[in-house]
């Protein structure tokens, strides 16, 4: 129901303006704050761009572990379904259900989950194992 430019357009405009027009004139604490803002906008922008794709990828990985039927029976939209499956998986791990095979299929699901999150929060980490910046302490 909202007008154009849409939220992705606005985030992209904000990110580009901050990076190209604001950041070069800043230093010290203000520059640090602006770098953090740029980083936050970029994460939000990538998540909007990605849409429901990451949740679907994670659901596919869960289907490998639990079986197709069990995953789709979880109900709700894909985000809610992922949340509920993560909750189940966390409890199962704590209860020791994967103790004999911690490096088995459960490792695959967990890796898919983290990779999908990192693609939005810090894609450089996946490319170069580089921790996100800036960081002071």
């Amino acid at each position: 129901m909202f007008d154009r430019p849409d939220r992705l357009d606005l985030l992209l405009a904000a990110e580009t303006t901050l990076r190209d027009e604001v950041l070069p004139s800043l230093d010290g604490g203000a520059r640090y704050a602006a770098l953090m803002v740029a980083s936050a906008i970029a994460i939000a922008r990538r998540e909007v761009e990605a849409g429901s794709e990451p949740a679907r990828t994670v659901l596919d990985a869960f289907a490998e572990l639990y079986g197709q039927d069990n995953v789709h029976r979880a109900g709700g939209d894909s985000g809610e379904r992922v949340r509920s499956l993560l909750s189940d998986l966390a409890r199962e791990i704590r209860d020791g259900e994967y103790d004999d095979d911690l490096l088995g299929p459960v490792h695959g699901v967990l890796t898919t989950l983290v990779v999908e999150r990192l693609k939005c929060s810090n894609p450089r980490f996946l490319e170069a194992s580089e921790y996100s910046q800036p960081s002071r302490s």
Partner: protein
């Protein structure tokens, strides 16, 4: 702090240092610290053992409502024990445990030279020729900390019971994960692995609890040398390897991934200093477990920082972004544990 408050502080410090007269510059609040407040000032001291100009830091709780893990009185006791053991710490000079003067307890220490800047320590090429010596010195510092062993009546506030430190940490992690509003299956998985592989070692020495390059003050003008080991609030009786795992975990290298000791230097240099000072052999083969443990710990702390921001009590862009770093630690955990298992 000005006027009468400053004069009252001056009288208190004069009494504590055995001075006949003292003059203080106006205290300036040092940057950082949502939980702590550090005020720096100079004192011109007449008579007594500290006669002359004295650079001081006064440390007290910040009014944020975030409770520190150690009281200022306990921190002062830890600093005194470390100073006596030869650890390079700011010399602790006096404490007001009752909080009569400022309305909250504080302690006073000598101001150390240098800066605690992890990015400089990890990345400044000017440090490169000195990295071996600096890393060896860091090994010596940690060995001196680990020379403090229980029982110690002056450190009676440290939990002495609690069994093997690795198991104690696992129990803490599970409780902390339960307190977070979302499930974190990767951290559950890593904690499960930690539980199943926990060494049954004893809490044989004082662990600093946050020994990493952000808490090492270094003066680059001469040397460079370590001028202070900071932030003792997480100290506990532990397995000495816990500090080494925390220092060496990949998440604390600040981009200098090829330097496994805190982004600062090489294992061999650290080991030389640590073994020379402690007289004990350092078993690197046992350290990866503690690197994993440190990585889980930092991931949980990162998530807790995000919750502090979300609680509304402590708005902070930095805390919000820190929570999003937890996925980086999670990725490392999946990689590290697999590597350890494949090597076994």
């Amino acid at each position: 702090m000005q006027g009468e408050a400053l004069e009252a502080l001056g009288r208190w410090i004069a009494g504590a240092l055995g001075a006949s007269e003292i003059r203080l510059t106006e205290p300036a609040k040092m940057p950082g610290g949502a939980i702590q407040e550090n005020w720096t000032f100079d004192a011109l001291v007449t008579d007594g053992p500290h006669a002359g100009t004295l650079g001081l830091v006064l440390r007290t709780d910040a009014p944020s409502g975030v409770s520190a893990s150690r009281t200022k009185v306990e921190e002062y006791a830890l600093l005194k024990a470390a100073f006596a053991a030869g650890v390079t710490v700011p010399e602790p000079l006096a404490a007001d445990p009752a909080g009569d003067l400022l309305g909250k307890p504080f302690y006073l220490m000598r101001r150390a030279a240098g800066t605690a800047n992890p990015r400089t320590l990890a990345r400044d090429p000017a440090l490169d020729p000195h990295r071996a010596a600096l890393t060896e010195a860091i090994g010596r510092e940690l060995a001196r900390i680990h020379s403090i062993v229980p029982p110690r009546p002056d450190l009676a506030f440290l939990d002495a019971d609690a069994g093997p430190p690795a198991r104690r940490r696992v129990a803490e992690f599970l409780a902390q994960l339960d307190a977070l509003p979302r499930p974190y299956p990767v951290l559950e998985w890593a904690t499960r692995w930690l539980d199943r592989n926990a060494p049954e070692t004893a809490a044989a020495a004082l662990g600093h609890g946050d020994f990493r390059c952000g808490n090492l003050m270094v003066d680059a003008t001469e040397g460079p040398v370590v001028t202070a080991v900071l932030d003792w609030e997480f100290a506990s009786w532990s397995d000495p390897l816990e500090d080494i795992g925390w220092l060496c975990a990949r998440c604390w290298r600040f981009g200098a991934d090829d330097r496994p000791v805190g982004g600062i230097g090489e294992r061999a240099d650290f080991q030389r200093g640590y073994e020379a000072e402690s007289g004990r052999r350092l078993d690197w083969a046992a350290v990866p477990y503690w690197e994993v443990l440190g990585t889980v710990r930092w991931a949980i702390i990162a998530l807790q920082q995000g919750e502090r921001h979300l609680s509304g009590r402590e708005f902070s862009m930095e805390l919000a972004l820190t929570a999003r770093k937890a996925a980086e630690m999670e990725y490392d955990l999946l990689t590290q544990i697999r590597a350890i298992e494949e090597a076994a």
